[in-house]
């Protein structure tokens, strides 16, 4: 099943299948890219940012960005 990162729930995990073009470069430096396993750690209330872990590196990104990343759920 595929989901946007912005729709993922606490603790869910999956493989990144797509990142919208305009975001690819922006998140590249954080190690976030297609094919990587991504775990959703937490999100902040009231449209706050999302915290994710990729390759044991934690990154926090805003809601709009999270809506541009698609993840194939594994658990």
């Amino acid at each position: 099943m595929k989901k946007k990162l912005s729709e993922m729930d606490y603790g869910e995990q999956g493989t990144v299948t797509e990142i919208e073009k305009d975001l690819q470069k922006r998140v590249a430096g954080m190690g976030i890219r297609v094919g990587k396993t991504l775990r959703m750690v937490t999100k902040q209330p009231i449209k706050g940012p999302f915290d994710v872990v990729v390759d044991e590196a934690e990154t926090s990104l805003g809601l709009d960005m999270a809506g541009k990343i698609t993840v194939e759920m594994t658990k």
Binding site: A28, G35, P45, K47, D51, E56, E58, T59, L61
Partner: protein, 411 residues
């Protein structure tokens, strides 16, 4: 040759497959704490506790050294000694350097403490060393500790929601907190913000609403009971005007994208070096400004300039802001030395609410000259813009505080 993002990752994947093996990773206690302090349910209470702890330690440490040691040193030994040995009691040089004194039934009398004497060598030195030094040391020490442990990014994540509403994002907490020590490095730290719009909003808010260590130190010393209210008014103003600025300043306010590094054991040598660097930097900036500002204020008093301006502007202060007319002088002097102005205000009889208003006014009034110079680096248009905002804020917010006081029946 250059690769595009996808090609570069493909190559790195291939290289990584050849050279790196990732063994099973056991999550540690540190990772667990890392997650607990960033999840809102647990993270927000922790953040509140950390901030409260920060403030309590700051207040008691600074108070301990200032009241317990420096006040005695300066008022009991230094001031009387200087008053004795400095030549020319009553003339202008004596007034500027040591003690402007006062007149009681036409008779010149010496001041009894270093906050009233207004000499460069008495009030100036006392503020710089006795009040500001302890405050700044403990402040930078605790801040370095939080930074080196790796707490700041997590605080940024927790605060992003609110700070995004004022056109900034979570990391704006770093320049904001840094400015509580000194606005100059605070302005420098705006470099972590993305756009010109964000940096403009940040610098303007810092210059107006964030009192520096010198001011906080002196407020803590002379009006400790009112600190809570003063800070509350400043924080509310920060958000109200941040919200408005975000609406009217053109430009983009991009979202938050930050790395959240793991917690680390802080290295003592690193903390030592950082704290020392910041204190040295502060003193290079602050000492000349405190002493020079003190001297200029002294000269202006001697020449009667401040009395003249105070008399001329008193109706505005009384009518618009609701503070007693005696505050006009200190409020004028605050253009040059906010810390001394606060000390002067504390000696005037007025209601607690008037005191709160007056001290908030001093804070939001005019950024110190050093901050000004820093902001100029970002561009003169930004500086002029910030000044325009400042003028509007002083009158609207100052008036609003007065109005609230009237409505509450305390003004």
């Amino acid at each position: 040759m250059k690769l595009n993002t996808g090609e570069r990752w493909d190559l790195i994947d291939r290289i990584s497959k050849e050279t790196v093996t990732f063994g099973a990773y056991q999550h540690t206690l540190k990772d667990a704490i890392g997650e607990l302090t960033v999840k809102p349910m647990t993270g927000i209470p922790v953040a509140i506790a950390v901030m409260y702890g920060f403030w309590s330690v700051f207040g008691s440490f600074a108070g301990f050294f200032t009241d317990g040691f420096f006040v005695r040193l300066f008022d009991v030994y230094w001031l009387p000694w200087l008053q004795e040995v400095f030549p020319g009691q009553g003339d202008w040089l004596y007034a500027i350097m040591v003690d402007a004194g006062g007149f009681e039934s036409g008779e010149f009398v010496l001041s009894s403490n270093c906050l009233e004497s207004f000499g460069v060598l008495t009030s100036g030195l006392f503020v710089a060393i006795g009040v500001v030094l302890p405050a700044i040391i403990i402040f930078y020490l605790m801040l370095a500790l939080l930074e080196d442990i790796g707490y700041m990014p997590r605080l940024a994540v927790l605060l992003d929601t609110v700070l995004h509403r004022v056109g900034l994002h979570g990391y704006a907490i770093v320049p904001t907190i840094l400015s509580l020590g000194c606005n100059v490095p605070g302005v420098t730290a705006t470099r972590i913000l993305e756009t010109k719009k964000q940096r403009f909003i940040m610098m303007t808010l810092l210059a107006i609403f964030i009192p520096c260590g010198a001011q906080i130190g002196i407020m803590q010393d002379v009006v400790p009971g009112l600190m809570g209210w003063i800070l509350l008014y400043l924080i509310i103003g920060y958000f109200i005007f941040g919200y408005i600025l975000n609406k009217i300043v053109p430009g983009k306010a991009p979202e938050f994208l930050i790395d959240v590094p793991p917690y680390r054991r802080p290295m003592l040598s690193n903390i030592g070096k950082k704290v020392w660097g910041r204190i040295a930097g502060f003193f290079k900036v602050a000492i000349p400004f405190v002493l020079l500002g003190c001297a200029i204020v002294g000269v202006l008093y001697q020449l009667g300039v401040i009395r003249f301006l105070g008399d001329a502007l008193a109706p505005v202060f009384v009518g618009w802001f609701g503070v007693p007319k005696e505050t006009a002088g200190p409020l004028i002097a605050a253009f040059l030395r906010k810390d001394l102005a606060v000390a002067q205000l504390s000696a005037i009889t007025m209601t607690p609410y008037q005191m709160i208003t007056a001290v908030v006014l001093v804070s939001i009034y005019f950024p110190c000259v050093a901050t000004f110079a820093m902001m100029l680096k970002e561009g003169w248009k930004e500086l002029l813009g910030a000044l325009a905002v400042l003028t509007v804020v002083v009158f609207t917010y100052g008036g609003l505080i007065h109005l609230i006081g009237i409505l509450l029946g305390v003004a």
